[in-house]
């Protein structure tokens, strides 16, 4: 197994609000440059159930699938197969845990399943690891600055 990438950060709101924001408000906050169409105004939909699709619908009605929900446990945990950059059969796994924390919610994201990409998986994962290690300190810093 190839070690997943992990990221964790705190958000000052309840787990209920965090889960709801992630799954039903993504259109409002998901960065347009990381959608498939790169279009502002594209709708992003998480169908709220196991087996539900995650997809993007552009203003002209074109739908592009991002993945499929495999765990739906509001407001604690969400897991989905993710194929925004691959074919569906090579989907990677994303799990997001929403934990009650002293100042709100601690969000833990794990992105794994790299072995499904075959030979590419290890190279791809390694190519991202070094930058990834730097993510957490910058969040801690941002959270501290905002909280001050």
């Amino acid at each position: 197994m190839i070690e997943p990438l992990r990221i964790a950060f705190d958000v000052e709101c309840s787990p209920d609000h965090a889960f709801e924001t992630w799954t039903s408000k993504a259109t409002a906050w998901w960065p347009a440059e990381h959608t498939m169409s790169h279009e502002r105004g594209a709708r992003i939909v998480f169908e709220p159930r196991v087996g539900g699709r995650i997809f993007e619908r552009t203003a002209d009605g074109h739908e592009m699938e991002w993945g499929e929900i495999v765990e739906w446990d509001p407001p604690r945990r969400l897991r989905y197969l993710w194929h925004i950059a691959t074919e569906p059969e090579n989907a990677t796994d994303v799990s997001i845990d929403f934990h009650l924390a002293p100042r709100g919610t601690r969000i833990e994201i794990e992105h794994g399943g790299w072995e499904r990409l075959g030979e590419i998986g290890q190279v791809w994962r390694d190519a991202n690891q070094a930058g990834w290690d730097g993510v957490l300190p910058s969040y801690t810093e941002a959270a501290r600055t905002r909280g001050a």
Binding site: E12, W29, H38, A85, N128, G131
Partner: protein, 101 residues
């Protein structure tokens, strides 16, 4: 019909065995086209073409160092995606919640 991403797709770029070898060579240190070509059974122009695909996908960047152009691994693609996603999510969630303090 399935829509493709407009810019180079990093995983698609890694679908070629020479490009995977190039990424592995660059993971040790930055190298010139000639140095990469020395390790592979393909020509310098072929190496350049592969580097250009990797560059469009955001996996490799280059810079002029003295008389040489060096190619290096851009280790930040997924990091950029997830940190942008987390930052935007955090701002939006915090701005739309009722403060309890």
């Amino acid at each position: 019909m399935k829509a493709k991403k407009k810019i180079g797709d990093p995983l698609e770029a890694l679908g070629n065995p020479y490009r995977r070898e190039i990424v592995q060579l660059l993971s040790a240190r930055p190298r010139s086209v000639q140095e990469i070509a020395d390790h592979l059974p393909i020509s310098r122009p072929a190496v350049s073409r592969h580097l250009s695909v990797l560059g469009r996908a955001g996996l490799v960047s280059d810079e002029q160092v003295g008389t040489r152009r060096l190619y290096r691994l851009e280790r930040r693609y997924l990091t950029r995606v997830w940190s942008d996603v987390a930052t935007r999510f955090k701002l939006f969630a915090e701005n739309t919640t009722r403060r309890t303090r």
